[in-house]
């Protein structure tokens, strides 16, 4: 049997074995919920086939994901996905956009400037965090988190996230957020049926240093 088929089968076999659920709650130092935190589970005792770093590949989604541009912003601020996923960047705006990333070594690309109604496509084939921008509108910012695991979730505005399809076993939970200085990790064990106790994370976030979207004004010139 071909290696890729073996990988797919082993993933399916693990997932089918009494999938367990684990929930997460993310708050900042003041207790406020944190949105857009990405939590992923890395298996500590599953077959190495689940890890792309060991030469295997996870099956990407059959359909491309979509990150649109609308109102001179990206439609989603943070998009987690698995290695090998293709993302479409449709321009649903009234103005042209030029989406790019300078995130070495994960993904460096520049789409040509395209008009409203057009789209560009990018394959994310290496794990890591990719910061997206628009070469026309400096304030436009979004992140793609490329993961090597099929078990991940993104926190909702109420700070909660849930991973429902992981197999029982030991995992390392990895938490990423755009304003987190470094990835936070925690080991946890999922048991059959019961999953794991709800995991609460208090994250120390850096100040939000995004480029501001504000029209300039000038006065005081010579008269």
């Amino acid at each position: 049997m071909r290696p890729l088929a073996l990988v797919c089968l082993s993933v399916l076999a693990v997932v089918r074995a009494e999938a367990a659920e684990v929930t997460f709650k993310f708050t900042d130092s003041k207790g406020a919920p944190i949105v857009d935190a990405v939590v992923s589970l890395v298996s500590l005792d599953a077959p190495p086939a689940l890890s792309a770093s060991n030469g295997a590949k996870l099956p990407p989604p059959a359909e491309p994901l979509e990150i649109a541009q609308s109102g001179q912003e990206f439609s989603t601020f943070v998009t987690p996905l698995v290695v090998g996923t293709t993302v479409n960047f449709p321009n649903a705006d009234k103005v042209g956009h030029q989406v790019y990333s300078l995130s070495k070594p994960t993904k460096v690309f520049t789409l040509p400037l395209y008009k409203p109604g057009s789209s560009g496509t990018v394959l994310f084939d290496r794990p890591g965090v990719v910061a997206l921008g628009c070469n026309i509108h400096d304030w436009m910012l979004a992140y793609v988190v490329v993961l090597e695991t099929p078990w991940f979730a993104k926190s909702a505005p109420n700070g909660t996230a849930a991973i429902a399809n992981a197999a029982p076993g030991r995992y390392r939970a990895e938490v990423w957020h755009p304003r987190l200085a470094k990835v936070e990790t925690r080991e946890l064990t999922l048991t059959e049926g019961a999953g794991a106790p709800a995991q609460e994370f208090t994250l120390l976030l850096k100040p939000d240093r995004r480029i501001r979207r504000t029209p300039g004004s000038s006065a005081g010139g010579y008269k």
Partner: protein, 280 residues
């Protein structure tokens, strides 16, 4: 017909490359400025402070050329009202053509602009009606998400109906802008200008007569002044605080100190302004 032909000439390179107008986003800036020395007078007896209200509307279409270059074609409308001295009221309308080159991709890449501007200026005092033109070179660079600088050099010429109101000059501006947080930012500006200035004074002023290349009697400020046109150097420094009211609206408070000198002539302007900028 003439205009259509000119427009076609200007846009044909863009159209030939498959470019099209992707954006007409008008900007409106309304400003109220208190000028402590609207007469540009060197003697306190002739110094008159005045309020000026100004509205600027600019709009441009973008025509990209390849990955790094963009051509903008647009227009600007400006109206200026002086509630106390309406002889200074005027309005201007004219085209703006800009070539922009970005040195690379991303928010931190430096940007170079070359802008050609022309204006037809109407004024309440017909002697001040004019035609104006300018060339501006600008280099902008962002250092991080919160800090950016710009260096601008403008050469401008204004030919008025009456010779004394002609003004030609070259101005260089350096500006540093620092965002303090999500809403507030600070801007520091330094300007250096050499060119024609208008100084109003009660005659006789032998010192100004010796400097001025043109002078005429004038009552714009409700006094029997003589307006002297002379070449001078102006140095100014400014501090602005901007509060973002929304993604597309900002309120700016600004103070500028400006000193103008030519030989024994020396005067200072204190300019305090409040401006609302809105991008549609």
């Amino acid at each position: 017909m003439k205009f259509s032909g000119l427009r076609l000439c200007l846009l044909s390179p863009a159209l030939a490359l498959g470019a099209g107008p992707a954006d007409w986003a008008p900007n409106l800036t309304t400003t109220a400025t208190w000028d402590s020395n609207a007469t540009n007078a060197s003697r306190s007896a002739d110094t008159i402070g005045a309020l000026a209200l100004r509205a600027d509307v600019t709009s441009a279409a973008r025509f990209p050329f390849g990955p790094d270059d963009t051509f903008f074609a647009g227009a600007a409308i400006r109206a200026e009202a002086w509630p106390r001295f309406d002889g200074l009221d005027r309005a201007a309308l004219g085209p703006r053509l800009t070539w922009q080159h970005k040195f690379g991709v991303g928010a931190l890449a430096p940007v170079f602009d070359l802008e050609l501007a022309g204006d037809v200026i109407g004024a309440r005092e017909s002697a001040r009606t004019a035609r104006a033109g300018s060339v501006t070179l600008a280099l902008r660079k962002r250092f991080d998400a919160a800090t950016r600088v710009s260096l601008t050099h403008t050469r401008a010429r204004e030919d008025a109906r009456e010779l004394v109101f002609d003004r030609t000059g070259a101005e260089t501006t350096a500006e540093l802008v620092r965002d303090l947080d999500e809403h507030w930012s600070l801007a520091f500006t330094a300007r250096w200008r050499e060119g024609d200035v208008l100084s109003y004074a009660t005659p006789p002023r032998a010192d100004l007569v010796a400097l001025a290349h043109v002078r005429v009697p004038n009552t714009t400020f409700d006094r029997p002044f003589v307006v002297y046109s002379l070449e001078a150097r102006s140095l100014s420094g400014g501090l602005a605080v901007t509060r973002a009211l929304a993604d597309t609206t900002a309120l700016t408070f600004r103070y500028d100190w400006r000193q103008t000198e030519r030989g024994p002539l020396r005067y200072v302007n204190h300019l305090v302004s409040a401006a609302v900028a809105r991008q549609f």
